[in-house]
């Protein structure tokens, strides 16, 4: 077991535990923090996979911007306490059972898949995750979606205005 594998398992464990903690934390602020931990773990995976650009963007956009926004909203609403006084046991049970069974089915299916046998994700090496490569691709082949995503932003902006503007 080399360092990469050790890192892989560590990060995976961190990601899954943190993800669980997102659910388990009673305080929304804690949830946010645990989610940020997940994002960091995932960024770690990106780095392992040599997708440096995404790793950075993930930290900046997700952990840095989006989650701060979440935190901000939670604070704004003064929700930094336990907000769910009563938890419905059955609901949790059913939720876990159905989510769990979905996972079970999917995993068992994936394990049967022969097409991905002996296929590996290349770790560390490979330069496709570099800004240079991605940038070239983004502004050549992917320029149309890039432009179109601007429309998406426009609409989101207008939407935020509509919703947020006081009447």
């Amino acid at each position: 077991m080399n360092a990469i594998e050790i890192l892989f398992w560590l990060l995976s464990a961190l990601a899954i535990i943190s993800a669980m903690m997102v659910l388990l934390s009673k305080n929304p602020v804690h949830s946010v923090l645990w989610l940020i931990a997940v994002f960091f773990a995932i960024s770690g995976h990106y780095i392992l996979l040599n997708a440096q650009f995404l790793a950075i963007v993930n930290i900046i956009v997700y952990a840095g911007a989006i989650m701060v926004l979440f935190l901000f909203v939670i604070m704004l609403m003064n929700l930094n306490k336990e907000s769910e006084p009563k938890r419905n046991f059955w609901r949790i049970l059913i939720g876990i059972i159905s989510g769990g069974s979905l996972l079970m089915i999917l995993v068992s299916l994936i394990r049967q898949a022969t097409e991905i046998n002996n296929k590996n994700a290349l770790m560390e090496s490979g330069n496709i995750g570099l800004i240079k490569t991605l940038g070239k691709l983004l502004f050549s082949d992917y320029v149309v979606p890039f432009e179109i995503s601007s429309v998406l932003f426009l609409s989101a902006m207008v939407g935020a205005v509509v919703i947020g503007k006081k009447e």
Partner: protein, 641 residues
Amino acid sequence: MEIMKTLLAFIVLWPLVGFLVNGLGRNYFSKKRIAFYASEQIFASFIASIIVFILIKNNGAQGDITYFNFIHIGKLIIPFAFKIDQLSAIFLLIITGIGFLIHVYSAAYMQQEEQAHYGRYFSYLNLFIFSMLLLVLGANYVIMFIGWEGVGLCSYLLIGFWFKNDNYNYAAKKAFIMNRIGDLGFLLAIFWMIAKLGTANYSDVFSNVSQLSTTDITAITILLFIGAMGKSAQIPLYTWLPDAMAGPTPVSALIHAATMVTAGIYMVARSNVLYSLSEVAQNLVAITGLVTALFAATIAIKQNDIKKVLAYSTVSQLGYMFLGLGVGAYTGAVFHVMTHAFFKALLFLGAGSVIHAMHHEQDIRKMGGLKKYLPITHITFLIGCIAISGIPPFSGFFSKDEILAAAYAHNPVYWGIGVATAGLTAFYMFRLYATTFLGSFRGTPEQAHHLHESPSAMTIPLIILAILSVVGGLVGVPESLGGHHALHQFLSPVLLTEVKYETTHSTEYMLMGLSVAIAATAIVIAIVTYSKKPQISNSTGVGKLLENKWYIDELYDAIIVKPLGSLASFLKNVIEKSGIDAAVNGVGKLVNYSSRQLRLLQNGQVGGYILLMVLGMIVIVLIWVNDGYIYRFLMNLFFAK
């Protein structure tokens, strides 16, 4: 031929025109004009019938006279055609002749009716004559059936003539429905013929009779006979006839005694070719006739309504005729039809005269001693009674004797019962006569005050019919009594001559003597018993049974009418409402119910929605994992090869 065609058309059309004119113009014409017009139309037919009769007598019968094709589909051709031969010629005379007399009689009898109803009455009578003529003249069973149902309709209309009275209406309905039961048999017989032979023409059916199997013939004849049972009031379809006395008395005379009820006889006689080939059917006809004759006679003994007695006697006499048909004495049966038409019309009209005089009182217990008030009626009525009792040389004797002789040849037991019935007939007829005309008057003084002889328009027909009742038998004097049976010879081209009943003259004499003796004895007993002290108290035991007509009406009510009614109610209230309709509405309710339940899924909870979505996903993935197994399973289930 052309003359015949025109004549027959007119014979049939005159009454129809009379019906239409009187029916439509009943509010505009005077009573006199209505009566005159109606009678005149029938009289014209009668004259034409005589001409036809003479032509037939001289030239013999000819082929069918076709007017147009009633139905023509592919190979099935049902022409609107008439067949005029000896048999129908005789019936033509009876129908138009007696019909005319009764028209004349009715003109006076119905005088008290309002003008509109008067017109209605005569138009019905004309319509009846029209239908009866169609029945008799038709050259195939379908045309006969048209007339057959037509007379049923007229009977219905005339029984219910006084429609304000619900009992009368009920009687009318009963008559029609019982007739319809018979008609169904008749219809099925026609279908059978058409199915097997492709035709319903008499000539074609009779000439192709060899193509029919014995089963076919038996079935056809029995089905035809069921029709005849209905129309001619044989057991078990006889109960309508006594009730039919609800109609005006001339109607009873015309329809329920002289003409319509003999349609069954006519039909069987017409189909004699078929009946002769079926032993089973013949026996059935004979036994039915015999039983009916005896049975009706027993009931007649205890009836107190003057018309009811006559009605049961009609049933009984019709039984005789069927006995004759059954034992192969077709001519005898037709002969009896004729004589019976004379004396029964006479008796009914006489009874009508009595009722007229008694102001619509029909209970003989309230009569008595009418001899002196109604002399003509009395005499003619007496003649009728003698004639029906079979005392020589009155007409009834000859016809009845011919049937009895044939019955003896066929089976002496038949003869024995026949003679016993003849004795009963004589007994109840003279009971009637004695109670009505002899003794002292038992009605109210007011009635006594009004008692008077009927007007001449009524008495003249009585007299004519009385004469015919006396001499009518002469056309059929058997050889044993020195005659040569003119009727027999006349009808021989149409009716098969069965030689089965060849008996020696001495036997015949003995039989005649015996029957006359029994009848005479019965007459004496009846007169002695009833002329002085008529039975007024209610009878008991067997008497009560007879008085209540063996409780047959009640029996029918209990085993047919009531169960049918409850079945209908059951179907209407349970099967229809709570069964089928409830099932249909149940589908709607089910949809509504499931709607109410299903919408609870939409409980407003996002978590719940997503949960169901996830479950849906799981199901879809599972179906997919099954890899078509469920698909194949379902396909095999629904579309198994």
